[in-house]
């Protein structure tokens, strides 16, 4: 079986993607944690560490471009590299969402706010879990697992709706804290988007395996805003 060089370098890039994935997972959980603990120092750390995620993303992108130029992959190899490029971007975006949540903690500061923390926690747990499994499936090129994951998005959507109405109620009940509570909308929005991005990763997994490209979850931002 020739093409050992391509295989080895492909594996290295995949490892890097997994590493980036776990960095993003950590950042998300940490960001949600700071929202609960209101540890501003921690939040600042999460906010700043997004820079590392960005740098890693550029490094991976560069490695993929070099592989494409030097190894001239075809068919499945080409699809894998194209998908890696896409997933790389998705992970960086998820990193940005984590950064956004840390920013919300920083904005709120010490303000006493009543947040739907239970729903937010659950959303974060679920989203991170989906991301983790989606990445595993992606590396294993397991289309069956990848096809199942986006369905879990419904749970997150339900939690989102609950949290959303709770936040609206809070706004009406305590107009004094409306500025801070309003920020919580960002948080749940970020978490919900995160799940969408996970769906995109799953789409890429199916693309590698079958060569087919299609949108997996019908719901997107526009639907929500209506």
């Amino acid at each position: 079986m020739p093409r050992n060089t391509l295989n080895r370098q492909l594996n290295m890039v995949q490892d890097e993607i997994l590493l980036l994935g776990s960095m993003v997972e950590q950042a998300t959980l940490a960001a949600v944690g700071t929202l609960k603990s209101r540890n501003l120092r921690e939040a600042k750390l999460v906010f700043e560490q997004d820079q590392i995620i960005n740098e890693k993303r550029f490094a991976i992108e560069n490695a993929i471009l070099i592989l494409m130029a030097t190894q001239q992959p075809m068919a499945r190899d080409l699809r894998t590299l194209a998908a890696l490029l896409e997933v790389n971007t998705e992970l960086e975006r998820i990193g940005d969402y984590a950064k956004g949540i840390a920013k919300v903690t920083l904005r709120m500061g010490g303000a006493e706010v009543n947040l739907p923390m239970m729903e937010i926690d659950q959303m974060a747990e679920l989203a991170v879990g989906m991301l983790h499994r989606a990445l595993s499936a992606f590396i294993e090129e397991n289309a069956n697992v990848a096809l199942a994951i986006p369905k879990e998005d419904d749970l997150i959507d339900a939690l989102f709706n609950t949290a959303y109405s709770k936040i609206l109620h809070e706004m009406v009940a305590n107009p004094a804290t409306i500025d801070s509570v309003n920020l919580a909308l960002w948080v749940i929005h970020n978490l919900e988007r995160m799940a969408d991005r996970v769906s995109n990763i799953c789409e890429r997994t199916v693309f590698i395996a079958t060569g087919e490209l299609f949108e997996m979850d019908g719901m997107d931002e526009e639907d929500l805003n209506v």
Binding site: P2, L6, R76
Partner: protein, 261 residues
């Protein structure tokens, strides 16, 4: 009406083509349609019979004493292996460019003009030479020394001269048998550009073992491989863009990703 469209759509078509060298079956049951004014690439590992099939189209296999073919190669609704077909006339209509540039040891001018003269060309030879050299994107490089020996040209120029020479007899189809395998990358790209230009007026069938070349230069790609008894078989035929991004057959996939064998 439907039938007529069907028959004129393809420049050449094979139906159940088998070619034998003595007892050995070189290719087995090839059925392929080649679209008019398109570039079709035939790729596959060494010994899969892709050149053999190409040479069947202008009956160059006739010169191999042990070779014979069964099945049909349809050209203008006629089987070219029919006894009534004049192979010499056929070769004028279906030109060929070979693996190694093989200009005649004559001047550039004579190289282009010779084939036309042999086929009874009666017009203005100077115009013909200029026109075909222009078509082959060689005119600007050689117009000042047409009397120079063709062997003094570079490999890439020689190959373009061979293409011009083939064009000078006004063929409909141009067969190219690994035309760039002896050329450097820049010369190769020039030939590929030229093929693209020519495909507006000619049907081009190219055999290549350079997959990148097939990917870059062709509209359609056909993948050949060897059977268990080492006969060549056609595995997959599709638009080039599909063959190289999502081939249907695992054997094609293995070959084009470099994981063959």
């Amino acid at each position: 009406m439907e039938d007529m469209n069907q028959s004129t759509k393809y420049a050449i078509e094979t139906r159940g083509l088998n070619i034998f060298y003595g007892d050995f079956q070189a290719v087995k049951d090839i059925s392929l349609q080649f679209e008019r004014n398109r570039i079709t690439a035939i790729i596959g590992p060494s010994g899969c019979g892709k050149s053999t099939v190409l040479r069947a189209f202008n009956r160059m296999n006739d010169f191999v004493p042990s070779a014979h073919a069964t099945g049909e190669v349809l050209y203008h609704d006629q089987n070219i292996y029919d006894p009534s077909v004049d192979a010499v006339q056929l070769r004028r209509l279906i030109g060929m460019v070979f693996q190694k540039p093989n200009p005649f040891p004559k001047s550039i001018y004579d190289n282009v003009a010779w084939g036309a003269k042999m086929n009874g060309f009666r017009g203005n030879t100077d115009d013909l030479v200029e026109e075909t050299l222009r078509q082959a994107a060689l005119w600007d490089e050689v117009k000042d020394n047409l009397k120079k020996s063709a062997l003094a040209l570079s490999g890439g120029q020689q190959q373009r001269l061979c293409i011009a020479r083939a064009l000078a007899v006004r063929p409909e189809i141009i067969l190219m048998d690994e035309p760039c395998s002896a050329l450097d990358p820049i010369a190769t790209l020039k030939i590929e550009d030229l093929m693209r230009e020519l495909s507006q007026n000619y049907t081009i069938i190219i055999v290549t073992h350079n997959m990148q070349q097939a990917a870059r230069a062709s509209d359609y790609t056909s993948f050949f491989t060897m059977d268990t008894d080492r006969s060549g078989i056609m595995v997959e035929y599709n638009e080039t863009s599909l063959i190289f991004t999502k081939p249907k057959d695992q054997r094609t996939e293995d070959y084009i990703t470099g994981r063959f064998g």
